[in-house]
């Protein structure tokens, strides 16, 4: 077993352990932390496959931004474990079905070689960095799917804003824009008073 294979097994073991802990940990914050570990390890495995852009992107986007906000929310929740466990058996059939579907999908993708589905091998000429190759493809062959994906993200963003919008604010609040431009003479009036004499 060469060094790379050893590293691969090491990372995979951590990844599997972390993923299992995500669904078995009782404390939701611990579960979120294990999810972070899983993402990070996943980045490691991708780096091992020389997909350095994807490896860094998953750490930048998921570990650095998405999970921070996720933790932010999870920490504020007051979760009662027993209440969550209540509906376990009711949801089990649906969950199992979804799980099975996902296993099937993964099997189809990973086993495509055995099912004689011609999957395109990634061809990157030597000397061209991974990032450049992905960028070139994204803005040439896949420009429409890429724009479509960004449009879907934009719709999601607007939807989130619309869902959380609670009508115009009725309370009185300070406007920082006005505060920034305030000058001393707007607030203080210096009066000249003649000295009073009897």
């Amino acid at each position: 077993m060469d060094f790379q294979t050893g590293v691969f097994y090491f990372l995979s073991a951590i990844l599997i352990f972390a993923s299992l802990r995500v669904i078995t940990a009782r404390n939701p914050v611990h579960a979120a932390l294990h999810l972070i570990l899983a993402f990070f390890t996943c980045g490691g495995i991708w780096a091992l496959l020389q997909a350095e852009f994807l490896a860094i992107a998953i750490i930048l986007v998921y570990v650095g931004a998405v999970m921070v906000l996720f933790l932010f929310v999870v920490m504020m929740l007051d979760i009662n474990i027993d209440r969550i466990r209540q509906g376990f058996w009711n949801y089990l059939p649906l969950g199992a079905l979804l799980g099975l579907l996902m296993v099937m999908e993964m099997g189809l993708v990973l086993g495509s070689k055995y099912f004689q589905v011609p999957a395109a091998e990634a061809m990157v000429p030597a000397g061209v960095s991974n990032t450049k190759a992905i960028g070139a493809l994204m803005f040439s062959d896949y420009v429409y799917p890429f724009e479509l994906a960004s449009l879907i993200l934009l719709v999601g963003m607007i939807a989130a804003i619309v869902l959380t919008y609670r009508g115009p604010k009725k309370s009185r609040y300070t406007n920082p824009n006005q505060q920034v431009f305030v000058k001393a003479k707007d607030r203080v009036r210096v009066l000249q008073m003649p000295v009073e004499k009897d």
Binding site: V29, L33, I36, E52, F53, I56, A57, I59, L60, V63, G64, A65, V68, L69, L71, F72, M75, M76, S129, N130, T131, P176, N177, Q179, V180
Partner: protein, 349 residues
Amino acid sequence: MDAVMNFGQGLFGGAWPAVWTLVKIVLIVAPMMLGVAYLTYFERKVIGYMQVRIGPNRVGPWGLIQPIADGLKLLLKEIIVPATANKGIFIIAPMLAIAPALAAWAVVPFTDTLVLANIDASLLYIMAITSMGVYGIILSGWASNSKYAFLGAMRSAAQMVSYEISMGFSLICVLMVSNSLNLVDIVNVQDQGRFAGWGLSFLSWNWLPLFPMFLVYLISGVAETNRAPFDVSEGESEIVAGFHVEYSGMAFAVFFLAEYANMILVSALTSIMFLGGWLSPVGFLPDGILWLFAKMSAILFLFLWFRATFPRYRYDQLMRLGWKVFLPICLIWLVVVGVWMMSPLNIWK
């Protein structure tokens, strides 16, 4: 150098490359830790003089041994773990704070050959690693099980996520004009141009054509390191000391090490991205690592100057600055740079 390599090869055999990398890591981390210690001294002196005081002056000549004494004191103090704290995470949090601050140095070039790992995507690596620094703060706040610590952590998380976006955008401008993600290339590109040809290379560095981005990056850098005037996560006057209120001894010191290491990192990155790294400002002086250190020191002095000058931002003002001022500036300048590069006036060929 060859003698050292041959000696190491003979001593460690096949394990020598790993040992040599470890040696290089120590050679980067040890001076940086010393730099962190003396940055605290420098900060106290500078702020002291700005406030017409003398600053530390009792331990050693001119108080020069003060940081060592502080470090020893913190080492010998007891680390108290609160009874209701989440013990594991409470201990891990300071480590999570300092690890990214150190790991980012792996790709920071000191000269065009003096770099630990000269990888293609070093800019992306820096952005990814520094974005993980926030975990130490959030987790310490949550694990302490204290209201003040938690408030500090929440403030800090929201703040760092907001300013990371403007920081990322300003770096995108840098990457557009240098056409590379490699930090060494980014510096080398700044040595080309009309002004560099005239021997005035400081005018062809990125700070001039990307001036708004330079300011955005510098100010976001201050915000990212939770330094005054953006130190709402500590906010001594409102929430005692914020996220590290329950920490003592070395665990507390590690948070401070991380903060100062991050300051040094941001100053190094600003020098590399916008101020030409190790390049000499004029043609008749040689390039060298001393220029990088001089630029870093100047930016670090700015950090200290800010702290002595500005009052702390109110939280809503801070959010407004990040989202409503910096983000639009970045988006507009991104388009400006793009149009500039496509026009005949392009200066980055």
